[in-house]
Symmetry: C2
Subunit: 178 residues, 2 copies
């Protein structure tokens, strides 16, 4: 999973996977019929189940509110600025690199986006009930925009890992809510 995350699907060779796992080619192909591609799909699922919930943090909790939502974006910015976080999000990378020609990969990405939108909608609903955001805010609609914004944040962050720029995006995205 780390190989694909760091280097992308095309750029990781089977040799990379052999070195990273210690599993030799023969075994690798018997354990994962379908080879590199099957392993990639498994990596996507593993990322969804292991890394994503960790990044979501409080945002995935039922009582999540504006602070949790803001915390998710702040975490994203922090990751993009750290040397280890420069690889961005495996699922965003996959959307750009593979989604057009790999329906199975695209389906995993779509699932992730749906989950993200669901969490954000719930958080915004809670936030409105607690009068943390303007009453005119439409939770479902604003969640859709915020999903797109955080994907865009990752694109901008890859090309320009500048804290001032990224924080300005987040600040202004939230400014219209209160």
């Amino acid at each position: 999973m780390l190989c694909f995350w760091l280097r992308g699907y095309r750029a990781t060779s089977v040799e990379d996977l052999v070195k990273a796992t210690g599993v030799k080619p023969g075994s690798l192909y018997s354990v994962f019929p379908g080879g590199k591609h099957a392993l990639f799909l498994k990596s996507l699922e593993r990322y969804s189940e292991l890394v994503v919930p960790q990044k979501l943090g409080e945002l995935a909790a039922p009582g999540a509110s504006l602070a949790a939502l803001r915390g998710y974006f702040d975490g994203l910015v922090q990751d993009l600025l750290s040397p280890e976080g420069r690889q961005g999000c495996l699922l965003v990378n996959t959307a750009i690199e593979n989604a057009a020609g790999d329906d199975e990969a695209a389906a995993v990405v779509r699932g992730h986006l749906a989950r993200l939108e669901h969490c954000m909608t719930a958080a915004l609903r809670n936030a409105r009930a607690a009068h943390e955001v303007r009453a005119s805010v439409d939770p479902a609609g604003s969640a859709k925009v915020l999903v797109a914004t955080c994907q865009g944040l990752m694109v901008v962050g890859k090309a320009n890992p500048d804290g001032t720029v990224l924080r300005a995006i987040v600040d202004n995205a939230f400014a219209v809510l209160v």
Copy 2:
């Protein structure tokens, strides 16, 4: 340029470029010292100078206002839904695929993002002067968010080329401005 746009940097072979241009390997390497990578950078520049202004349309004009800004987003959605437009934006693809390990490519992407932000800021300033958006809208700040949103729109569009979803994102992004 079309090769890199359609398939990405890593996935386009020199043979693809030879077939597409009709220029044989020997000539290609004498005309472009630096080979595939030099050609890629030239393609990025060509895309910036040829395709981007066409996509910007009215938004690049001095008098651009809210309609031009909205028109840009609508054009983006339309492109993502058409079979020929599924490749998305070469510069977004490059940001994800190459920016982390290719400083020259990242610089071209940064230039594009800066230009986009500049155009959007100007359009929002005009829009506010014409009372097309709320007086509380900060042109510079909102432009930063809109830049991120349109990059995100491209990520979402690649994984989920669904008109309803994409149009909802654009509608809600603009809803907070008026």
